[in-house]
């Protein structure tokens, strides 16, 4: 996977994970063009499209579009499963996740993604294990915060 973007129906970016080195300017350009292209797709169209020399796999969950750019030799159908797995993880973590959760807790959304994918590939195929790791990391953070009695986020 080269990158993953999450954006709303109005085209607002909610998460961007890049696995290839690009300048900020290039990222902005790609994001803008791709968001436009995906938002222009009609609901009956398939989840795949060719864009530049990449394959784009996207799926809409409620008000959010999950959009991945994969390489030629990657399997589009399993990428749909990857997207679905990520949504399931978010759902389990936040308890019936909605776009607002991701807006207000974007750093957590990143942490979860980073426990699921690394360098663009899945590092853990068990839902349970990903969630357990996040839980433990959160605990570690909380116990540290308590110890230092400084609430950074809440």
């Amino acid at each position: 996977m080269q990158f993953m973007l999450l954006f709303s129906r109005q085209g607002k970016l909610r998460l961007q994970k890049w696995y290839v080195p690009l300048s900020d300017k290039e990222k902005k350009k790609i994001t803008r063009e791709l968001v436009q292209t995906v938002l222009a797709r009609k609901p009956k169209m398939c989840s795949f499209l060719e864009w530049r020399d990449l394959k784009i796999v996207y799926k809409r969950y409620a008000s959010l579009y999950f959009c991945c750019a994969i390489e030629d030799q990657d399997n589009e159908l399993i990428t749909l499963e990857i997207i679905h797995r990520y949504v399931e993880l978010l759902d389990k973590y936040f308890g019936s996740v909605c776009e607002l959760d991701i807006i207000f807790n974007f750093e957590k959304a990143y942490f979860i993604l980073d426990e699921f994918l690394l360098g663009g590939e899945a590092q853990e195929t068990s839902k349970k294990n990903v969630l357990k790791a996040i839980e433990q990391a959160d605990l570690l953070q909380e116990s540290e915060d308590e110890y230092l009695s400084v609430k950074i986020f809440k």
Partner: protein, 710 residues
């Protein structure tokens, strides 16, 4: 100084902004506060501030002043700080900036941290955005972690190693020992990432590939266990056990089995098993089937297995899920060359996909349909494809038209069918055909001698209906010019037009706003040719003289030359305007076009100040005929008139057959008038057919001796 506002508080506030300007104001205020907080080296709230900065960065605002702060966070002892610091590094830093190298030492320390979650952060960051320098420095640490018994770290180290290898391929060797017993792991995470690592290594190095071939039996066993094992709640997705791992194993098997008989044989059974037993009701099962099909088609599988694979694709084509149909068409396109007959069986389903609503599916169905056209199905297929051409979106028309022309050329059952098909394309998608179709069609028509009358009649009728589609108009004008005598002579099936009507139509093209300059050129030349076929010579003379003062320089030049033909060279006119000879399609010729000259001019055909030598009439005729032909052909290279630096005169080639086997040559003299003493450069484009396939050769001549142009 009061504590900086909390992250969620900021998000809430920014979201209340009603306009872009309001939002920008809030952001600027907060950025200023964050900047001063950074200046004060506030350790307590650095984390909070960077988090806010990351939010604002996502909204599109600059955040580079936070880069160093991320580094400070990474270096902190607190886990909270590190978490945000590494996130910030991944979002704000990139390998183009030297600043990122400052991370290297921190990452090194964190890779050896006592807490696995910290080690995990470091591995993740390195594996996501590590530059080549960082990878070089830290590869040793990654390799160490690849050998740990802690599966949480081992799986991350494997993917980190993949990234290192991608950035610094020479380091691949160093990870080899650690791969020794990666596949004996029970942990699926480690297994999955190990397979990814092995795949990467095998793809990059043929030596690694041969080395890892011995793993095929083990991979087959693991895959078998996944399929045969009972329900495993931890890895189950809709009744399938760990589809992610299954797909990756199938992909690795593909690479190992490619071009190796033994490995291919060893995986035959398992592939057949997966292909027949996988549940197809959900996307996840189809994802595995898809990967299986790709593997079967790529390795040296036995024919029974290949047919099984194609049939799976055929079933995919009938699936309600358009994603599955899309994937099927893509795969069939890849296999249509090698397994042509098997794919032919699914032809009707593929043709049905031409009517699909989805653009990507339509495109693939079109490409596949063209690949499946052959002598047996040409009539039926062409009907469908022409229907598609009528109703498809503009973005398809050019490709579809080209495809139809190619297919028609290869498999036309009769000349009349061929010309009818071309006519159909020109009338329905005439504005979309490629520029080079016009000379190709002209050649085709010229060579179908018995169809001349029929063709010109049909083209004339088409012109009466519609003069907006330029390629159609160009071909039609050319034909009318050539075969106008047949048009008015009553050899056609329907009522023939009279000469004046025909001239009206051609003159109409000259004045119409819809005609491009190129088309006007065609029209004028056609009118001129009719001077030897029609009796209304005076009318033609008048038209030609009018255009002698046209603003369009190309048209003016032609008109002046034709005028000269009427006045000074009238004795040559009949011979010059004779029917074009049949253009042979052998391996040696096809139009030799001079596409561009230095200064990018269109070569002038006749320099009126230096008429061709009067000595050999036969030679002249051929010469000038070639001029006209070239003129018609070159008119398609549409670049408009630019400043004229050269004038060229092409003489006849010494022969029109180049002997085979290097037994001779053909020479053709080009006279160049170069008053401005510009450097000569020539580009030549040769198009010809070799054993039925079109070939195109481009060559440049840059080394004309200076004496030739100075």
């Amino acid at each position: 100084m009061p504590a900086p506002i909390r992250l969620r508080e900021l998000i809430r506030t920014i979201r209340t902004a009603r306009t872009q300007a309001e939002e920008r104001e809030m952001i600027q205020k907060e950025c200023a506060a964050i900047r001063s907080s950074f200046r004060e080296e506030d350790n307590t709230y650095r984390c909070r501030n960077v988090a806010k900065l990351l939010y604002m960065h996502m909204l599109g605002y600059p955040a580079h002043f936070g880069q160093l702060e991320c580094l400070k966070l990474i270096a902190s002892q607190k886990f909270t700080d590190k978490r945000i610091g590494y996130l910030g590094a991944m979002l704000l830093l990139d390998e183009r900036q030297d600043v990122h190298l400052l991370m290297t030492n921190c990452i090194k320390n964190d890779l050896n941290h006592s807490t696995q979650y910290v080690q995990g952060l470091a591995l993740c960051t390195l594996g996501c955005m590590g530059s080549s320098e960082m990878c070089r420095d830290l590869a040793g640490e990654v390799e160490k972690l690849l050998k740990t018994s802690n599966s949480y770290l081992r799986k991350k180290a494997a993917l980190c190693a993949v990234h290192v290898i991608r950035k610094v391929p020479e380091l691949m060797e160093m990870f080899l020992p650690a791969t020794k017993n990666l596949l004996s792991e029970k942990n699926h995470g480690v297994l999955h990432t190990s397979v990814v690592l092995l795949t990467e290594m095998c793809e990059r190095s043929p030596d690694m590939l041969s080395h890892f071939r011995k793993l095929v039996p083990q991979l087959v066993r693991i895959l078998k266990n996944l399929i045969m094992s009972g329900y495993s709640p931890e890895h189950d997705v809709s009744g399938i056990s760990d589809p992610f791992l299954q797909v990756r194993i199938l992909r690795l098997l593909r690479i190992l089995g490619r071009s190796d008989d033994d490995s291919s044989e060893a995986m035959n059974d398992i592939l057949a098993q997966v292909a027949t037993n996988t549940e197809t009701s959900k996307n996840v099962g189809n994802a595995i089937l898809y990967e299986t099909v790709l593997t079967i088609m790529d390795i040296k599988s036995e024919s029974g297995l290949r047919v099984l694979a194609i049939n799976i694709l055929g079933r995919f084509l009938l699936n309600n899920d358009k994603n599955i149909r899309y994937v099927a068409l893509t795969s069939l396109l890849k296999t249509v060359q090698t397994d042509h007959n098997a794919v032919q069986r699914h032809r009707s389903t593929i043709v049905d996909c031409l009517k699909d609503l989805d653009v990507s599916i339509k495109r693939r169905a079109m490409e596949l349909s063209f690949a499946l056209v052959n002598g047996n199905n040409i009539r039926g297929m062409m009907k469908e494809l022409l229907y598609f051409l009528d109703s498809c979106d503009p973005e398809f028309k050019a490709d579809c038209a080209s495809g139809v022309f190619l297919a028609a050329e290869k498999y036309a059952p009769s000349k009349r069918w061929h010309i009818d098909t071309i006519m159909r394309v020109l009338t329905t998608a005439g504005s979309y055909v490629r520029d080079d179709s016009v000379p190709n069609l002209i050649q085709l028509i010229t060579n179908s001698v018995e169809m001349h009358a029929y063709t010109v009649q049909r083209l004339y009728k088409a012109l009466l209906d519609d003069i907006s589609q330029q390629p159609l108009v160009q071909v039609s004008s050319w034909c009318i010019g050539e075969y106008g005598d047949l048009l008015v002579s009553g050899q056609c099936e329907e009522e023939e037009p009279i000469q004046d009507e025909v001239l009206d139509v051609l003159e109409g093209l000259l004045v119409s706003n819809l005609s491009t300059p190129v088309t006007r050129g065609y029209a004028l030349t056609a009118i001129m040719k009719l001077s030897t076929r029609f009796s209304s010579v005076n009318r033609i003379k008048k038209v030609v003289s009018i255009y002698g003062s046209s603003i369009d320089v190309e048209l003016q030049q032609r008109a002046v030359e034709y005028n000269a033909l009427f006045k000074k060279y009238d004795h040559m006119r009949p011979a010059l305007l004779e029917r074009m000879p049949i253009m042979e399609k052998t391996a040696t010729n096809g139009p030799t076009e001079i596409v561009q000259t230095n200064g990018e001019t269109e070569p002038s055909v006749l320099d009126t100040k230096h008429p061709p030598p009067v000595t050999q009439p036969a030679n002249q005729v051929r010469t000038l005929k070639q001029f006209w032909y070239l003129h018609s052909v070159l008119c398609c290279c549409s670049d408009p008139v630019s400043p004229w630096t050269f004038q060229l005169q092409l003489l006849s080639p010494s022969s029109n057959v180049v002997p085979a086997l290097n037994q001779g040559t053909v020479t053709q003299v080009i006279r160049v008038l170069n008053p401005q003493k510009q450097q000569l450069r020539m580009r030549i484009k040769l198009t010809y057919t070799h054993k039925g396939s079109p070939v195109q050769d481009l060559a440049e001549v840059n080394n004309f001796p200076p004496q030739s142009w100075q």
